[in-house]
Structures are given as C-alpha cells and as structure tokens.
Amino acid sequence: MAETSKRKGLGFWASFLPGFTWMTAFYFVPLGALLAYSFYTHDRRTQKDLPIFTLDSFRWIFSSPTNIQVFLRTLRIALTVTVIDVVVAFPVAYFLAFYAGRFKHMLLLLVLLPLWSSYLVRIYSWTLILNSSGVLNWLLLKLGILDHPSPDFIYNTFAITLVLCYAWLPFMILPLTSALERLPRRVLEAAADLGAGPVRTFRKVVFPLVLPGLLAGCVSVFSLSTGDYVTADLVGSGSSVVGKLIFDRFGTAANWPQSAALSLCVMLVLFIVFGILSRFGAFD
C-alpha cells in the first residue's frame, strides 16, 4: 500500500517537475525580471539600470500625453481588427462547418497555409500590393476606377489595420469552425420545427452556443494585434503602436525600466480584457 503511493508520488514528480522547471526558467523567471525591472532606477548619465526602487517609470507613462495617445490608438486598432475578423470569419467558418463537405479538410489547409510562410515575408508582400506603384493601384488604374495612383493605401492606419486583419484571420476562423462543428444539428432542427426563422435561430440558438469559440478567437486576435509592432513599422507612417514604443524605449532610449513598465501596463490591460471575456466563457 505504502509502496504504491510512493510510486504514485514518483510518477507525479516525474511528470510535474520537468514542466514546472521549464515554466519557471522560461516563463516565471523572465516575468519576474520584467516586473522587477519596471521598478529599477535608470541612471541618465551612465545609462545603467540600478536596483533601486522607484515609481518613476510608471509616473513617466501616465504623465506623457503621447503615451496615452499611443495606448488608445493601439487598442482602437486591435478592436477594429477583432471586429472585422469576426465579421469576415463567421461566414467562412459557417461554410466550412456546414457546406464544405468533402472539401473541408483541403479548405482548412488553405486557411492555414499562409501561416507556414514567414510573417515578415507576408507583410512585405502587402507592401508590394499597396504601394504607389503596386498591384492594387495598377489594377484600379486598368479598371479605370482611378486616373492616377493613390498614395492612400499604405503608410497609414488603414494599411496597419488591413494587414493585421489578414495576418490574424486564421486564428479567428479555426476556433469558430470547430465551435460550429460541435453544434448539434438536432438543436437547429428543433428550432426550425418550433417555427424560428433563420435570423431568430442564429440569434437565440447558434450565437449563444458558439460564443465561447468566438470569444476564444477574439482573445487571440485582440492580443496578437495589441502586441504587434512589426506591421506598424513596415506599413505605418511612423506613428507608433505600444509595441513599437516599448521597442524604442528598450532600444533607442536604452531605458529598460520604462520599457518594462510599459510592457506591464499592456499585460494589465490584456488581463482585464481577458477577465471580462472569461466571464462569457472565452476560456471554457
């Protein structure tokens, strides 16, 4: 009896420790370092970060209107991207789940295919499409919609939003598709039998049942959009998003405490958003 429980104990430790060590070394420790750095003092003359407790970095964040403005811009972009991706992904997922039939697996593969290429390459290819002598302008000129190339497709917030929508779309389609697949057909039939029209069925039956899948997609897309800065760097005009701000404080300003404090604020915002979403079952 005692031997069995001991063996069980060994088994527990053997499965628990590697994972725990991994998480500690590559997750908890860096996170702790991040937390700690945000309270370090940055010495302006020697550019060193000293382990002396201060709240200066947080004070700097909230005293600068530019920082607040960048935070709001980032959240606005992330929210727009999430909403657009929901609208675009829903019909696609619906089609995949109910009508694609034997093509379903192939079509799902096509949705995933872009993820196999480098993220940077995909953004660069968008610059080729959107720039003043790019594919889009060429097409619109040929079709006679424009009479001279428009510079408004790239190096602005529109371009950032568009590219992010494209980049994160698979992360919305996949959880939605699997949520729709799990939807029992008999429930839909029951709704029809009881006289509900398509709109009412969707509102009262389909939507509540796929909500967790939808929210899971939203969590992915929203957090990926909030953290991204490469897209803003390549197709934006130079106005920052939070990720770029963090990068600049880390690189340009060599001020790690401010950079760490900014990262913490982003994490805090995301935690709050996730907290709200989890109430609606995003993580079920």
Partner: protein
C-alpha cells in the same frame, strides 16, 4: 508552519527584484581568433575582411545595426562578452565613454594612425580627457536627396523645400532624434546645434518641427528602405546618406540628385572603438591598423559610399574620386559640416521626437 500569502508575495517580489542583477545577460564566450564587430553595414564587407583573415588567421563576425541607439542597446546588453569592436558615429562615442563601456586605444599598436591627416588624429569625437578611445574609419555628410523627375535643382537650394505644400506626404527622413539638431541648423543657424535644452526644444524647435509631420510619408529605418521608397515613387525628397545614393545609382530605376543646401548640413565621422571586457584587444588593434591601409580603405569606400580617412588611399584614387571624397579641399570642406555629437539630454530629445512621430 503556515506561510501567509502576504509574506510569500513579499519574499517572491524581493527575490524577483534582485534577480536581474544575478542573471544579467551573458552572451556566448568568445572563441579564439574571432573578431566580433558591431556596427554600420558596409564597414565589415567580405571584400576586405577576407584579406584580413588570410593575413592574421582571425575571422571577422559582424552584427549590423540600423542606428546608433541599437548599437548602444546591444553593447549595453552584451558588452565585451559579445563584441570586441564597435563602429561608433560621433553621436555615440561620448555616450559609450561616459557609460564606461570602452577601452583606451594603444596607438603603438596602430602604426598607420600616423598616416591620418591631422584632422582625424586626436579628433574631438574620439578623444576624451586627453586619451584616445577610437580610430577614424570614414566620414560623410547628411544629404538632401531628391528625385530629379519630381523636383528641380532650383527648389533644393534650401532645406525649406521639405516644408513646401507641393511635397506634402512626399518626404522621408531618418527615424532618429538627431534630426532635431538639423531643425535648429535650418532655422537658427549653425551655433550649438547639438546642445538644446528642454526649454529650447519646446519653445524654439517644436514649432518649427511640427509642420514637417504631414510632409512625411514614412520615417525610414534602414537605408535600403529609403532607396526603395524612391524607386516606388513614394517620395520625392529624402534626408539620407551617401550609401543610399550609391545603391540607387547601381539599380538605376530612378534618377536622383543630391545636394547640400545653403543652410549647410549635419554629418558624421565614424570611429572604431574597443569595447571594455574584450579578450581580443590584440586582434582588434590589428584590424584597426589594417583598415587604415590604402587597399582596405578603397574597398570600404566603394562598398559603403562613405568617404575614406587615411592618406594611404590617395595614390590609389582617380582624380574624380579625389574630388568626390574631398581629398584636396579636406580642411575647408570638413569645416562646413556640423558633425554629430553626443547629446546630453538625450531622453528629452527622445520625448519630443516620439511626440513628433505620433502627431498624426
């Protein structure tokens, strides 16, 4: 014993607080006979590093950076464990010195130093408190580059063309706060342009700077990006370096001109500097000496488009090249360029620059 959650939190936090000092970044240890250089693209090209490897048996490993700040950040993180040498421009040299990240240069191991024109010996941008901390590599101006198909030669007589309504959304400048000094130069003349206090930044520089924001299509972050924007006709005017012009001439897709407008311009003068804590100081000195040889300087100048410093290159140059590199009128021309210096209140410059970038 029951541990209260509060005590646990405090202990964990205290532990976490001092953790980074315990596990400060340690890059991989230097291997024998590898010289690790961090810096600008063009200063570590195979065309001249191979000859060095052949002669000394030391390989050259390079880390390219897009800005002085990136170099600083990387040296701050890696130090002498990760890099032996840096190619520092004048805006970075004093910063590295004050952050105590440099070793002195032993000039007895760099005999070619004597072949530098007087101007480049004990130069103010790499000599601090009477000691030599660097050896010059190359120099050059920040040009006003323009697309000849869109802009006439008359228009670029002054930097004010960047503010012209005609070129709204047709301008690109480097994403670098040192440009605040250029703003001071363009509007208030060449006095003390790298010395701008916070009050002056707000009262004098900001009002002149902000109208530039709608003119800017995109801030360039690598010289290749600037070249690409000229080729795609995204922009008509750019603030840039000779290396972009060299690249555009090679590709031939767009006909660009370049000029130094009447207000004058800023410029840079780069130095090799030895990073504190390096174990390869000897190889580093051999490299600095080698890079002052005529052949190495010539190849470096051809690859980068930057202007050479060593007098050993002179016999190898054509008359046109001597003119291009301002070899004959060196003293006079050098005096017209306002070379980058390390900015003291860099954080304040940075704040205004961030505000400027985000003003739209």
């Amino acid at each position: 014993m029951k541990i209260s959650p509060r005590l646990l939190c405090v202990t964990l936090f205290a532990f976490a607080f001092f953790l980074p000092t315990l596990i400060a970044p340690r890059a991989a240890k230097a291997e024998d006979k590898v010289l690790r250089i961090i810096g600008w693209e063009g200063y570590m090209d195979d065309s001249f590093t191979q000859e060095f490897t052949k002669r000394t048996g030391s390989k050259v490993e390079h880390t390219y950076c897009g800005s002085s700040d990136e170099m600083f950040a990387k040296i701050k993180a890696g130090g002498g464990e990760a890099y032996d040498l840096v190619t520092a421009s004048g805006d970075l040299t004093r910063k590295l010195y004050e952050a105590e990240m440099l070793n002195k240069v032993d000039l007895s191991k760099v005999p070619n130093y004597a072949k530098l024109p007087k101007l480049f010996q004990n130069a103010p941008y790499n000599t601090f408190d009477g000691a030599n901390y660097g050896v010059s590599i190359a120099w050059g101006p920040d040009y006003l580059i323009y697309d000849k198909a869109q802009v006439t030669e008359d228009e670029v007589k002054s930097w004010q063309v960047l503010f012209s309504p005609k070129y709204k959304g047709k301008v690109s400048v480097n994403d670098y706060q040192i440009l605040l000094a250029d703003i001071k130069l363009w509007f208030y003349g060449p006095t003390d342009i790298y010395n701008i206090s916070k009050e002056e930044l707000n009262s004098k520089i900001k009002p002149k700077l902000m109208p530039l924001r709608p003119q800017i299509r995109k801030f360039w972050t690598s010289q290749a990006e600037l070249a690409q924007m000229f080729e795609n006709k995204e922009i008509a005017l750019g603030w840039g370096w000779p290396v972009t012009i060299t690249q555009l001439k090679k590709s031939g897709k767009v006909d660009v001109g370049y000029t130094i407008p009447k207000e004058g311009t800023s410029g840079w003068s780069d130095s090799w500097m030895v990073i504190k804590g390096t174990k390869n100081a000897d190889i580093a000195h051999q490299w600095m000496n080698y890079m002052l040889e005529g052949e190495a300087q010539k190849k470096m100048a051809e690859v980068s488009g930057y202007w050479p410093v060593s007098s050993l290159i002179v016999p190898l140059l054509s008359d046109q090249e001597k003119k291009d590199y301002h070899i004959d009128d060196l003293d006079a021309f050098f005096g017209t360029i306002h070379f980058w210096e390390t900015v003291k209140n860099f954080d304040e410059w940075n704040d205004l620059w961030t505000e400027f970038k985000n003003a739209q």
